[in-house]
């Protein structure tokens, strides 16, 4: 079982091990913080020349998730492009995705006003009483922005955070760091609830994390 179904405000969702969220009732796949074109932006500003493969790697994963879920719609929760210029340079890659799915681009702090893109561009959408936006605000909402991570079993793992009013997605992009749930900003939004760890398998843990006793040998 590499994916996990859960409820949030009366709706069924599937947390994918990849970090994408599938909403079966809406036939929609939701991803956050793709940060496409990040290496390009750094290079343009005279910074490090990072391996320029992250856009391809990220889009390949989006396509794989679309294949696996068969979703008809894709909603990107902002910061899809590392900046507006990056967005302009990615025509061919984007055509691949937009050619097969109806895409809704929610704007983020990195891409406040994307140039002409196939699909809808909106500051946010409301579906079945849930607000989909980049940064968590008046709940109940589904958002991204923070790149949440959790430390479990000595590893630092990207995770979905599920609180009473906020469902926050991990970053889906390839070259993205993260913010630990312990950070005051995230704790204030989701002081308690649960999290779903991503990676090879989606696994649920409670928030805050309980202290564990030592493992016993079999």
């Amino acid at each position: 079982m590499s994916h996990l179904m859960f409820h949030y405000h009366g709706q069924d969702f599937v947390a994918r091990a990849s970090g994408a969220l599938f909403w079966p009732a809406q036939d929609t796949l939701i991803v956050a913080d793709l940060h496409l074109g990040k290496s390009e932006r750094l290079a343009r500003r005279g910074g490090a020349l990072l391996p320029p493969f992250e856009t391809r790697a990220t889009l390949e994963r989006v396509l794989a998730e679309l294949d696996a879920t068969g979703a008809a719609h894709l909603i990107c929760l902002g910061d899809s492009f590392d900046d507006d210029l990056a967005c302009a340079e990615l025509d061919t890659e984007l055509a691949l995705i937009c050619g097969r799915t109806q895409v809704t681009w929610i704007s983020g702090n990195h891409d406040p006003a994307p140039v002409a893109l196939p699909g809808f561009q909106v500051p946010g959408v409301t579906l079945n009483g849930l607000h989909l936006r980049h940064i968590a605000a008046q709940g109940p909402d589904i958002s991204g922005h923070y790149h949440p991570k959790l430390r479990v079993a000595g590893q630092r793992i990207a995770a979905f955070l599920i609180g009473h009013e906020h469902l926050i997605l991990p970053a889906f992009g390839h070259y993205t760091g993260g913010l630990d749930w312990d950070d005051a900003a995230l704790r204030a939004l989701v002081p308690e609830g649960r999290a779903i760890l991503t990676g090879t398998k989606a696994q649920m843990v409670p928030l805050p994390l309980p202290q564990l006793r030592k493992r016993r040998l079999r």
């Binding site: 005279g46 992250e54 649960r194 409670p206």
Partner: protein
């Protein structure tokens, strides 16, 4: 050692000065003065090496004050440049020379550095990193145009790391800017001086007389050492007694954390209230400087120090060196002994304090080696790193447009790059210019662009980034520790990984005091002093020290030779007997190993005594087989003596694991994906400039600021497996690993496997459990552990998995 004839060659003012001190110059000092070309001076500590290096400068200054920067002195340690400046000031003042001497390191203020660029001193004392930075300025040709001498101190130490590669590239640059420059390398005694001259790009060897044999022994200690641990606190009273009897004692200990703890232990038994200082690299600069000054002025009776006070420092009247813990390699031991009694003709006094019973053996073996005058062989391959070359090319480009052919010729004049093929140089240039990716992605955004045959920085802003990231020391990320919220007094630095393991309320030691962790804010660790409390968390990881292979062979011989046990303390003999009773004593020619359980995991310890590289390689090979056998390995650590692997399932039969046949099958992916390789990649990518340690405007906290170098590594492996940085990473990782063929042969020649399953941790395994430098294995074991923990957390919180858990 005194040579009357030679002293006749001194210029008159210098000869009078020597006479006024009641000294006569050593023969090697005069030889240095007479030399017309580049030289490598090999002299024991206390042989007046540094003065020898500066004599030609002083002699020249007697004939008239030079115009502009005349002599550049480079040392591996900031503290050393400071110290040399002080020592040099005296003869310069006595001789009435109007020479300006200044140091320039990372600690030098920005105003002073700016002034030095416009108006350099006559003698500049600096480090390899600061030199590289100076060479990156457009003014470099003017600053160095009148340079006549370069003195490189402790060159044997520099040659052991990438800092040496960087310095030799800088030196090649200096030779282009000032073709008449004369270079003097100063070195402690080394096994192979010719390798060092090749490193320098050729030099005449000047060999000083060796000093007298050191007076070195194990400090008699009233209590028996513990089984494991590295702190040496059990010996605090005896060390204190030795300090009371000496004039000034240097107490060396291997890591910063241990220095903290030992300082506290000493303080607790300092009944006579003697002034004692603490000196290590995590302390704030002001605090370090205060200790250095107090030591120089004779106000201290002892200093507890790590490597930050190591190499060649010439402070005060140290007459006793105490080494806590095993000296790890003989060369280091000999250098540390050199601290005591800085006079050429009297023997140095040093005492060793083994921190645990295993180290008793190690100390005994080290004493035998010193007595036999057997130094460790000079291990490092002196071929220059290509990552360092990438950084150098970027640095040179900051100074101005560069010509590829000229730069290639210049680079090959540096010893470590003498045999560099043009194709490799071009690959490095291409990496700096375009990133060097198979996909030509950055045509418009190259870092370097070619105009009229010369390479320019496309965006001049890039120069600032490049300068901020100069250097080849890739240390773990350090966080500054401050007292109280908002800008309290800085207490020192701790590693980020250590900070991440702290919870509010935890107490730990820093700067000799116990503090409580309050919070992490803007990458500053805020703490509150808790003077009355014992630290709850005592350790943070320090440096990983490698023992030499020679030393480990001596240790095994000691264990195997029961007649030699007579020389051991009774507690150590009992301890060896206990190991023999509950497990097995390793014998030469066998593979002795044991499996035991502890703390929810199984441990497998293999005592090969084959050296760290071989054990590290065995660690990779055996964990691969264990993964295949479903034993779920979680990680391993390799020392010179042994390999320790921990796993979820026990090794009950080691024979199939140690079968030499088919050992390499399926190893390729395991090798490429392991943490050893990723750790190397992080260092290589940082030096080469792909990962920037310092960004303008300082580091932002958390989100999006950093992502792991592992992601870059995996991305490159997938999309561009032949990329230059991966080639460098593979080559460098292999330096830290033994040849597979050698491992197979070892397993074939030692077919007798002796395995035991003791009921608990054994005497020999105990110190391994505390060893730093653990390599995690991210495979089925880690996944299983994660799954178990997640499920257990849900149970403890009284929760069940969905769909019953809707909010």
């Amino acid at each position: 050692m005194l040579d009357k004839r030679a002293s006749a060659d001194l210029p008159a003012p210098l000869a009078r000065w020597f006479a006024a001190q009641g000294w006569a110059p050593h023969a090697h000092q005069c030889a240095m003065l007479a030399a017309s070309g580049d030289t490598l001076l090999i002299a024991p500590t206390g042989g007046g090496k540094t003065l020898a290096g500066f004599l030609p400068t002083l002699a020249a200054a007697c004939d008239g004050v030079p115009d502009g920067l005349h002599t550049l002195y480079v040392s591996p340690l900031k503290a050393l440049t400071h110290d040399i400046g002080r020592n040099l000031a005296r003869p310069v003042a006595d001789l009435g020379l109007s020479l300006r001497i200044e140091d320039r390191t990372g600690d030098t203020s920005a105003t002073r550095r700016a002034r030095q660029r416009v108006d350099p001193p006559h003698i500049l004392l600096t480090t390899p990193e600061s030199l590289a930075l100076m060479l990156s300025y457009p003014e470099a040709p003017r600053i160095f145009s009148n340079l006549r001498r370069v003195v490189i101190d402790e060159i044997h130490a520099l040659a052991e790391s990438k800092r040496g590669d960087q310095l030799m590239l800088g030196l090649a640059r200096l030779r282009s800017l000032a073709p008449d420059v004369q270079v003097a390398g100063l070195s402690a005694t080394v096994e192979n001086p010719h390798a060092l001259t090749r490193f320098m790009g050729g030099a005449e060897i000047l060999q000083a007389e060796p000093g007298p044999d050191p007076d070195i022994a194990i400090l008699p200690i009233t209590r028996a050492p513990p089984w494991s641990g590295a702190g040496g606190a059990y010996a605090a009273r005896d060390v204190m007694a030795a300090i009371e009897r000496a004039r000034l004692t240097l107490v060396f200990i291997n890591t910063r954390a241990q220095a903290e703890l030992f300082f506290q232990a000493l303080w607790a038994v300092n009944d006579a209230n003697l002034p004692i200082g603490l000196h290590h690299g995590s302390l704030a600069r002001d605090q370090r400087r205060r200790v250095e000054a107090a030591m120089a002025s004779g106000d201290l009776r002892a200093v507890v120090a790590t490597g930050s006070l190591d190499l060649g420092l010439d402070w005060g009247d140290v007459d006793l060196v105490i080494q806590i813990g095993a000296p790890r390699n003989v060369k280091r031991l000999v250098q540390r002994i050199g601290r005591a009694n800085h006079r050429y003709d009297t023997p140095s006094r040093a005492r060793l304090v083994p921190a645990n019973r295993f180290e008793v053996l190690e100390c005994m073996a080290a004493l035998q080696a010193v007595e036999a005058r057997e130094l460790d062989s000079d291990g490092r391959d002196l071929r220059g790193g290509l990552d360092v070359l990438c950084q150098h090319i970027a640095t040179v480009a900051c100074a101005g447009p560069l010509d590829a052919d000229q730069l290639f010729t210049e680079v090959t004049r540096a010893g470590p790059y003498a045999g560099l093929p043009r194709a490799q140089f071009d690959a490095c240039l291409d990496f700096v210019a375009t990133g060097g990716y198979a996909l030509r992605a950055y045509d418009r955004w190259q870092r370097l662009v070619q105009k009229n045959g010369l390479w320019h920085l496309r965006d001049p802003r890039a120069a600032r980034d490049i300068r901020m990231n100069i250097g080849t020391i890739v240390a773990p990320e350090l966080l500054s520790v401050r007292r109280g919220p908002r800008g309290g007094a800085p207490l020192g630095e701790i590693e980020e990984s250590f900070a991440a393991s702290l919870s509010p309320g935890d107490t730990f030691l820093i700067g000799g005091q116990t503090v409580r962790y309050d919070r992490l804010r803007d990458m500053v660790v805020e703490v509150t002093p808790q003077p009355t409390r014992q630290p709850k968390i005592a350790v943070f990881n320090g440096l990983k020290m490698a023992t030499s292979t020679e030393l480990s062979a001596r240790v095994l011989a000691l264990i195997g030779d029961q007649t030699a046990w007579q020389a051991l303390p009774e507690s150590t003999r009992d301890w060896l007997a206990l190991q023999a009773r509950i497990a097995t004593l390793p014998r030469p020619g066998t593979m002795t190993c044991e499996s035991f359980a502890r703390g929810g995991q199984w441990y497998f310890a293999l005592y090969s005594f084959a050296g760290r590289n071989a054990n590290q390689t065995l660690g990779l090979l055996l964990t691969h087989r264990m993964e295949g056998a479903g034993l779920a390995p979680l990680g391993f650590v390799a020392t010179d003596y042994a390999l320790l692997i921990w796993s979820l399932e026990p090794v009950r039969d080691p024979a199939p694991l140690l079968d030499p046949d088919g050992l390499r099958d399926g190893m390729d992916d395991w090798l490429a994906g392991n943490a050893v390789m990723k750790r190397t990649f992080r260092a290589v990518a940082t030096v080469a400039g792909l990962i920037q340690r310092n960004l303008p405007g300082g580091r932002k906290s958390g989100k999006q600021a950093t992502f792991s170098s592992d992601i870059l590594y995996d991305t490159l492996r997938k999309f561009d497996p032949d990329h230059l940085l991966l080639q460098i990473t593979r080559a460098e990782s292999m330096r830290g690993l033994a040849d597979f063929g050698r491992i197979e042969e070892m397993l074939r020649t030692r077919p007798q496997i002796v395995h035991s399953m003791p009921p608990h941790v054994t005497p020999f395994a105990a110190p391994l459990m505390l060893e730093a430098g653990r390599i995690p294995i991210r495979a089925s074991g880690a996944a299983q552990l994660l799954e178990e923990e997640a499920a257990q957390m849900m149970r403890e919180a009284g929760l069940q998995l969905d769909p019953g858990c809707g909010i």
